[in-house]
Amino acid sequence: MSLLSVRDLVVTYATRAGPVRAVDGVNLDVPAGSITGLVGESGCGKSTLGRALMGVLPDAGRIAGGQIMFEGTDIAALSASARRAIAWRRLSFIPQTAMNALDPVQRLRAQMLEVLIERGGLGKAAALARASELFHLVGLDPVRLSDYPHQFSGGMRQRASIALALALEPALVVADEPVTALDVIVQRQVLDVMRNLQARLGLAMILVTHDIAVVAYACDRVAVMYAGRIVESGPVADVLENPLHPYTMGLTHAFPDLYGDDMTLVPIDGTPPSLLHPPTGCRFAARCPFVQPRCAEEPPVTNGDHHAACWRIDEAAELRALAAIPATWVPK
């Protein structure tokens, strides 16, 4: 039984040229107590999906269809005030830049207390004790609760916004590119804090990122997004080591590695399609080296824990071998 079950979710942005379908028919299951990576390139809809789950879409965006079942309730259908009632307590958010979560003119203590007292209903003494405990949990000295956000380094600010997000022990935390702006050592330390807390508190987390290496390091499961859809998802080891979708296969050869033999990186030629007028059928078809005439029709989604949307799933092993050869990706 999933903690979160997204079904046929459509999110559109109103533009002068018409509605852009940023998220277009997404299905996603997030089990309790696990970290799911949501990975894809800019414009694929991963951040929009994350924001839709949190109920914090920008003004031009709206949920145009589908369901977001969370703990048995369709939260996509809830009123704004009903959404606010579960925010922080059951479902919370870690934004990309901690400065967006933290108030620059308030000391960290006041911000922690606001959440703990007004949202969590704690008394002042209990809230103070809890704030210290939370700072300790994320590896910050509780003395620093007296500081303002600008007195913190980028990594410390991100730790503080994690402490804030976890303050009321939510069941699910959505983190939108939480380590992208950080240096590699700090990035690793923040990912370790997130992993340790997730394991200790048994909460579920969705980690939105463009970086497959971050997914490989920190996540149990991954969903790969492309042009508004999830093209492949499953346990991290299966998806990264034995990808079923050609887009995922391409991504795994596009990254330089720290170890191993010299290899030639393989770019994926072309750009994603416009989401104003998306093509029918498979959206990756125009960039896919394995495209066939039937790809003009909607590809079927396979069954199973590790699944993908592609007409040629049965040939995945052969396609993987071909995808490892740079010449395969040279446009004809």
Partner: protein, 317 residues
């Protein structure tokens, strides 16, 4: 190999809030023709300031820079312009490196005008450079404007703009960090090809050691304005000698499920480390000894190709 560019004892001090802060404390380096040197380190380590000094975009507070046998540290006027044609910067952010109102043709003609290339040569040189960055056929691109191009295409134009004066050295500061993963590989491959085909010397600045490994045979690691380690990239990654390099290598995430998740061999954060005197890294070093407080280690050779600045060298494994 003779050096195309050599820096000796470079220092850069910025004055902030009434006190001097050394962004670059003492950096010496050399890059041969056709060689690529990577500079890695965290934000604030001085890698970008070092690169800007090499290009004379920033005047050093001390030290000197020799380019092709000539001291260029204080060049001015026409001589500086001549140097600029030889040493080009590849901008980090392609989305704001080009004038949005200029066509690609004009964006590429501008540096030719700046460096006094006769107009009759412009068309051929623009055509050749667009072929080099694989924006072909060139005629299809010349009249487009930046907003009509994707990030990867823009970065190709940015690279073309750096190559068109015919430099012998290019310096690239995080050349793909603003691009999507699927197009990064294409730009990195172009950088490798251009270097091989033109025999360019290159300096790449990045926080990403895996990227540096892909494009640079030699790497320098900087920490708080100083070089802590230098050597052939693969050796340095496989057998890091400085405790900071070890932490850096251990922290780089790799796209495999099986990887080391042990705690990083480093303490505290950059802000804990600004101790005066002694080794700048000692506040974060798991191996710090008494001598590290008393004496700043100097960069010394541990093999014919590797240098490290650490008192422990040889005593830890």
């Amino acid at each position: 190999m003779t050096a195309l560019i050599e820096a000796i004892g470079l220092e850069k001090t910025f004055r902030t809030r009434g006190r001097d802060v050394a962004a670059v404390a003492d950096v010496s380096l050399s890059v041969a023709r056709g060689e690529a040197l990577g500079i890695v380190g965290e934000s604030g380590c001085g890698k970008t300031t070092t690169a800007r000094m090499l290009l004379r975009l920033e005047d050093p507070s001390a030290g000197k820079i020799i380019f092709d046998g000539t001291d260029i540290t204080t060049l001015r006027g026409a001589d500086l312009l001549k140097f600029r044609a030889q040493a080009q910067l590849v901008f980090q952010n392609p989305f704001d490196a080009l004038n949005p109102r200029f066509s690609i043709r004009r964006a590429l003609a501008e540096p030719l005008n700046n460096f006094g290339v006769p107009i009759r040569e412009h068309a051929d040189r623009i055509d050749a450079v667009l072929h080099r960055v694989r924006l072909t056929p060139p005629a299809a691109w010349l009249d487009r404007r930046p907003h009509e191009l994707s990030g990867g295409q823009l970065q190709r134009v940015v690279l073309a703009r750096a190559l068109i004066p015919g430099p012998t050295l290019i310096v690239a500061d995080e050349p793909v960090s603003m691009l999507d993963v699927s197009v990064r590989a294409g730009i990195l491959n172009l950088l490798r090809e251009a270097r091989d085909a033109l025999g360019l010397a290159a300096v790449y600045i990045s926080h990403d050691l895996a990227l540096i490994r892909y494009v640079c045979e030699r790497t320098m690691v900087m920490y708080l304005g100083q070089v802590v380690e230098e050597g052939p990239t693969k050796e340095l990654i496989a057998h890091p000698a400085h405790p900071y390099t070890r932490a850096l290598v251990a922290a780089v995430p790799v796209p495999h499920v099986a990887q080391d998740r042990a705690q990083l061999p480093i303490r505290g954060s950059l802000s804990d480390a600004a101790a005066i005197g002694g080794c700048a890294f000692r506040g974060r070093c798991p191996h710090a000894m008494n001598i590290c407080t008393e004496l700043a280690p100097t960069l010394r050779a541990i093999t014919p190709t590797r240098r490290v600045a650490c008192h422990l060298e040889g005593t830890i494994s």
